[in-house]
C-alpha cells in the first residue's frame, strides 16, 4: 500500500510558513494542518495549551463523518464547516484530497476574514502537498526503514 505519508524538513518548513502567514493575516489564535487520518502535520499560533493530538483525531473524525453524510446525500464533500463558540470559533476546511485545515479564532477576527485568508492559504498548501506526494512517491529519499533490523524492532518491546 503506497498511501504512506512522508514529511521532510523542507516541506514542513514551507507548510509551517504558510500557516504562520494565515494565522497572522487572519488574526487567528491557531492554525493546524491535519491529515485526514487524524495525524497532526503542521501548526502555528498559540498551540502550547492545545491538545494537538486529540484535536487532530477528533477533527479528522468529524470530517470523516461529515463526508459520510455528504456521500449519503449524493453530495460532493462539504467544502467547509464553521462552529461558533462563546470564546473560540472553529473553521474547518478540506485542502486537496487528504489534508484538513483547522483555524481557531476569537473576536479579534471574523468568519469573513478567516474564509478569505483560508482560500489563499489552501491554494498554497495544495502546491506544497502535491510536491511532497511526488517526492515521496519518487522514493529516492533515503528511507529510515531500510536500516532498521528485526532486532531493532524486537528491542523496542523488550522491557
Amino acid at each position: 500500500m503506497s498511501n504512506q505519508l512522508v514529511m521532510y524538513e523542507e516541506e514542513l518548513q514551507q507548510l509551517t510558513a504558510i500557516c504562520d502567514v494565515l494565522q497572522r493575516d487572519s488574526n487567528a489564535k491557531a492554525v493546524l494542518v491535519i491529515d485526514k487520518n487524524g495525524q497532526a502535520i503542521a501548526q502555528s499560533g498559540e498551540v502550547e495549551h492545545l491538545d494537538v493530538t486529540s484535536l487532530s483525531s477528533l477533527t479528522a473524525g468529524n470530517v470523516a463523518a461529515t463526508g459520510g453524510i455528504a456521500s449519503l446525500l449524493a453530495e460532493k464533500e462539504f467544502a467547509g464547516q464553521f462552529h461558533e463558540g462563546e470564546k473560540t470559533n472553529v473553521h474547518i476546511s478540506i485542502v486537496g484530497a487528504r489534508v484538513i485545515l483547522l483555524v481557531l479564532f476569537d473576536e479579534r477576527s471574523s468568519l469573513g476574514l478567516v474564509r478569505l485568508r483560508v482560500r489563499k492559504a489552501a491554494a498554497e498548501l495544495t502546491i506544497v502537498l502535491e510536491a511532497l506526494v511526488k517526492k515521496s512517491e519518487a522514493g529516492n529519499q533515503p528511507s529510515v526503514f531500510a536500516e532498521i533490523t528485526d532486532d531493532d524492532i524486537d528491542n523496542l518491546f523488550n522491557d
Binding site: 500500500m1 498511501n3 504512506q4 505519508l5 512522508v6 514529511m7 521532510y8 524538513e9 514542513l12 518548513q13 491529515d35 485526514k36 487520518n37 487524524g38 495525524q39 502535520i41 491538545d51 493530538t53 486529540s54 483525531s57 477528533l58 473524525g61 470523516a64 463523518a65 463526508g67 459520510g68 449519503l72 529519499q141 528511507s143 529510515v144 526503514f145 531500510a146 536500516e147 532498521i148 528485526d150 531493532d152 524492532i153 524486537d154 523496542l156 518491546f157
Partner: protein
C-alpha cells in the same frame, strides 16, 4: 496509513481494534491507558453513548519508544461493535496500518463474532485492503467466563489463517499488552518490508 515525519523524527501508525459489541475493545484501550506512563500517552478520547457503548470511536495515542532515533507513535482506535454502526466502522478503518480482532469467547457470542469478522473483511475490501495482507492479530477475550468456548473451536472458526492469537481477560489486563505488542511489531515489520 503510516506517517513518517523526518522533520520531527517520528513514525506514526494507526491500529484499529475490531470486534462484536461488548467483546471488550474499549476495555483493552482503558487497560493500556491505565498502565502506561503519563509521558508515553496522550489523552484517551471515548465518543460513547450514555450507557458506555462506543458511539463513534475510542482513541488513544501511545509512544512506544525509539528505533534508530525515530520515536514510534501508535494511534489506537476502537470501532463501535454494534451492528447498526457500520457506516462509522468504515470511516475508522480508513488509513489503517494494523488490525486486532477481539473475539468474545462466550459460546453464545459465536455468531456475533463470525458476523463481525465477515464485516471486517468486507469493509476492508471496500477500501482496497485485504485482511490477509495486513498486519493482523486475533484476541480471544473474556477467557475468565465459565461459558467460554474451547480455544480449539475459537481458533478454528475465528483464526483459520493462523495469525498470532492471544487469550485475554481484558478487565484484568491478561493478554492485553501481548496483543498490542504483537500487532505493533507486525506493523513495523511491514513498514520495513515495504521500504
Amino acid at each position: 496509513m503510516s506517517f513518517i515525519n523526518y522533520s520531527s523524527r517520528e513514525i506514526n501508525c494507526k491500529i484499529v481494534y475490531y470486534g462484536p459489541g461488548l467483546c471488550g475493545k474499549t476495555t483493552n484501550l482503558q487497560y493500556i491507558y491505565n498502565k502506561t506512563n503519563p509521558e508515553a500517552k496522550g489523552k484517551m478520547i471515548s465518543l460513547a453513548t450514555e450507557t458506555e457503548r462506543t458511539l463513534f470511536f475510542d482513541f488513544l495515542p501511545l509512544s512506544l519508544g525509539e528505533i534508530r532515533g525515530f520515536r514510534t507513535r501508535f494511534h489506537l482506535y476502537t470501532v463501535p461493535g454494534q451492528v447498526f454502526y457500520d457506516a462509522s466502522r468504515k470511516l475508522i478503518l480508513k488509513g489503517v496500518d494494523g488490525v486486532v480482532f477481539v473475539g468474545d469467547s462466550q459460546v453464545e457470542r459465536m455468531e456475533a463474532n463470525i458476523e463481525s469478522l465477515d464485516n471486517l473483511r468486507t469493509n476492508l475490501a471496500e477500501q482496497g485492503y485485504d485482511l490477509d495482507k495486513l498486519p493482523y492479530c486475533v484476541q480471544f477475550n473474556k477467557r475468565d467466563l465459565p461459558n467460554s468456548a474451547p480455544l480449539e473451536e475459537l481458533t478454528e472458526v475465528l483464526n483459520p489463517t493462523k495469525v498470532p492469537q492471544f487469550e485475554a481477560v481484558a478487565t484484568k489486563g491478561v493478554g492485553v499488552f501481548d496483543t498490542l505488542k504483537a500487532v505493533a511489531k507486525l506493523v513495523l515489520t511491514e513498514l520495513k518490508r515495504g521500504s
